[in-house]
């Protein structure tokens, strides 16, 4: 009896070890992918497109299961780095742009030339060779492919802009003028001309970024140090505080996040605001007004471009198969699917030949212009936290009444210190 009891206890103690899964159980190969998309949730076009690709790939490769583990986009890369350090990372990972440098430094990704890129023809490479493709390059090898090109554009309501008697604004003065004319209060509810958000947490780059790029061409110097504690930065902060002072931007913008501002725009609270162009599908789906009035435009000096970069974990036991699925997600057919079903921008130049610009996808020319002329942080070193640092400069000026130059200097120092400059 005692032996039985001891045996049972040992079995119980070993249960976690026995129960842990194998990646190749039942003769099947499981390719695990971490992404912020959820193919089981059909409410988003990108999810639907991914689901279709998985179904097709599994049908073409019997015995292979693609397991998608949806993750929070804000912490996914950190989780991947931790998993890489402990040898338990997924086969395929989607990395955020700002974090890619650190991921490459950690040696967490496999060069794609070792898997499939080495077999591609020059013509095929030319089809994808742009700033996003080159962003995943280090020492002559490519480690990622951009699967989700994005540009931080200005959304606007065409109906409100027309009612205000304004053309699509192109300069800072025209943006301010349009914002003033679109601001109105009816039945106690105010529609603000220009929605902005400056939270301390995750945020898309705001107008101060565009101001700096427009006026001085860059955010960082050659050594990667912050380059905003200067007169250009002060003028930018003053432009923003002026918007708040005259009431075209609500004072509450200091603590609004990207999701808040998207929700409020959809509810009809703003005439214009900045967000990722890839959100246009979901914004049109949820807005309380005619979705045809949701338009996007470029910003003075060009837009910040962004994206998600997919790569293969260097420690994966199924690199080849994982690489084949990544190649599938980047194929000409998949690219068209991402565009037509997922409302994304094409990653291949050849895909453009199949697309006709209509009222439904008139955001594409703005995105393509942004990809050609937009701003992207280099991948030679880490640029962590700069969006929060710029937001906090505005917070300190508006919320604490700090001198703009002092606030910009403080946050520049914080950025430089945090990034080891």
């Amino acid at each position: 009896m005692k032996r039985l009891l001891v045996g049972f206890l040992l079995l119980l103690a070993l249960f976690p070890v026995i129960a842990s899964g194998s990646q190749e159980g039942d003769g099947k190969t499981e390719i695990v992918m971490w992404t912020f998309l959820d193919p089981e949730n059909p409410s988003n076009g990108r999810n639907v497109a991914l689901k279709q690709m998985i179904t097709e790939f599994e049908a073409d490769n019997p015995g292979v299961d693609i397991i998608v583990e949806p993750k929070n986009y804000a912490t996914m890369t950190a989780e991947f780095l931790t998993a890489h350090a402990t040898g338990s990372a997924p086969d395929i990972i989607w990395c955020a742009r700002d974090e890619l440098s650190g991921v490459l430094d950690a040696g967490a990704l496999e060069p794609l030339e070792n898997l499939f890129l080495g077999e591609w023809s020059e013509e095929e490479i030319k089809d994808i060779d742009d700033a996003f493709f080159r962003f995943g390059e280090r020492d002559g090898k490519h480690y990622t492919l951009c699967l989700n090109k994005n540009a931080l554009v200005m959304y606007y309501r065409a109906d409100l802009l027309e009612a205000a008697g304004c053309d699509v604004p192109e300069t800072w003065d025209e943006i301010l003028d349009a914002a003033i004319k679109m601001t109105k209060t009816e039945n106690g509810i105010t529609t603000y001309g220009l929605g902005q958000s400056f939270p301390s947490g995750y945020s898309d780059p705001q107008l101060l970024t565009n101001w700096l790029i427009d006026k001085q061409g860059a955010l960082f110097d050659e050594d990667g140090r912050a380059m905003w504690a200067n007169q250009v930065g002060v003028d930018g902060v003053n432009w923003i505080t002026h918007c708040i002072d005259i009431g075209v931007t609500p004072e509450g913008c200091l603590n609004l996040g990207t999701e808040d501002i998207i929700s409020e725009f959809s509810a009809g609270r703003y005439g214009m605001f900045i967000a990722g162009a890839v959100r246009i599908g979901s914004i049109k789906d949820t807005c309380s007004f005619d979705p045809k009035d949701v338009k996007v435009m470029s910003l003075p000096g060009g837009c910040v471009i962004d994206g998600w970069f997919a790569g293969i974990w260097s420690g994966s036991k199924n690199k080849e198969m994982a690489g084949r699925f990544l190649e599938k997600m980047y194929s000409p057919e998949a690219d068209l699917l991402w565009v037509e079903v997922g409302a994304q921008a094409p990653v291949r130049a050849s895909t453009l030949e199949h697309i006709t610009i209509t009222e439904d996808n008139d955001y594409l020319p703005v995105m393509l212009d942004a990809f050609a002329n937009g701003f992207i942080t280099p991948n030679d070193m880490a640029y962590a936290g700069w969006k929060i640092n710029l937001n906090e400069a505005v917070q300190r000026v508006v919320g604490n009444g700090m001198d703009p130059l002092e606030a910009l200097q403080q946050t520049a120092d914080e950025f430089n210190r945090a990034n080891g400059r």
């Binding site: 001891v6 206890l9 119980l12 103690a13 950190a78 301390s200 880490a382 917070q395 919320g399």
Partner: protein, 287 residues
């Protein structure tokens, strides 16, 4: 010669001990180890000794976040324990379905997801469309942009943390009250004690353990709560609600400074241990 007795009691603890070692002790030791190294992007760098700890102490926004955390933690815990005690004493005098119903209602905030609770209150406090401001305006007052005002945001955070934990305090204290022998209460009445005397001389000393345990649990829960501040206020506006766990989150997931965030984690753990030790000392609780 009798058979040698095998002490099986140690074996009984093996499963739980293994789990504790795997999920508590090893990560704790690893965090302590990381805190002495440069750990950028999860890559082990050079040994830096106490430099990560010193940086935590000399960084103004970290020391400021500790101050905010202490204020928010003690205010919300004090409110929860006080109101939980009042509610427990009130319900203790009642019985049947009504008492059961109140206990269930009180526990709902504790059992629902913190993300859901944070989002719920964030929308309730919305400046123009939130229920809170609709009511305030209906009463003839000017609306308040709660989440965007520094003081109001701090009060809102304390309020939501208290709202979440009052039910837990109430049930724990009520369990203590139910455990008091009725004969003691009857004896006090026979001796001529009034309700207040019974409360302060009989009931409160008898429920000291449950009040102390609730206080410890809620203090630690509020001190280390990351979810509610992150969802409700995000640490803003202008860092007014930037509690230390948000600072730790940013160090880990924004700046990827795992060495520094490990040092901060160790400091947070030391703070909670000190707080618990102080409670036990003050309450003269015997472990």
């Amino acid at each position: 010669m009798g058979k040698k007795k095998i002490n099986l009691s140690i074996l009984y603890t093996v499963p739980a001990s293994l789990l504790l070692i795997m999920f508590l002790i090893i990560p704790l030791i690893f965090a302590l180890y990381c805190s002495f190294y440069q750990y950028k992007y999860m890559m082990q760098g050079s040994f830096v000794g106490l430099a990560n700890y010193i940086e935590c102490f000399v960084t103004p926004r970290i020391s400021q976040s500790f101050l905010i955390t202490f204020i928010v933690t003690f205010a919300s815990t004090a409110i929860s324990i006080f109101l939980g005690l009042v509610l427990a004493l009130w319900i203790d005098r009642r019985s049947g379905l009504f008492a059961y119903f109140i206990e269930m209602i009180g526990l709902i905030p504790w059992v629902i997801s913190m993300v859901v609770a944070g989002l719920l209150w964030r929308w309730m406090f919305n400046a123009e469309l939130g229920l809170f401001n609709v009511i305030i305006r209906a009463m003839g007052f000017a609306g308040v942009d709660v989440i965007q005002n520094k003081t109001a945001a701090q009060v809102a955070l304390i309020f939501v943390l208290s709202w979440r934990t009052i039910g837990y305090a109430m049930v724990m204290i009520l369990a203590g009250l139910k455990g008091i022998d009725d004969t003691l209460i009857e004896a006090s009445h026979i001796d001529g004690a009034n309700s207040l005397q019974t409360l302060f001389l009989i009931k409160l000393p008898m429920i000291k353990s449950s009040v102390l345990l609730s206080t410890i649990v809620l203090t630690v829960s509020n001190f280390t709560n990351n979810t509610v501040p992150k969802v409700l206020t995000g640490g803003g506006p202008v860092n007014a609600t930037n509690v230390v766990t948000l600072e730790q989150y940013n160090l880990s997931f924004v700046y990827y400074e795992f060495g520094k965030s490990s040092a901060l984690s160790v400091l947070i753990m030391i703070c909670t241990v000190i707080i618990i030790a102080c409670y036990i000392k003050v309450a003269k609780y015997k472990i």
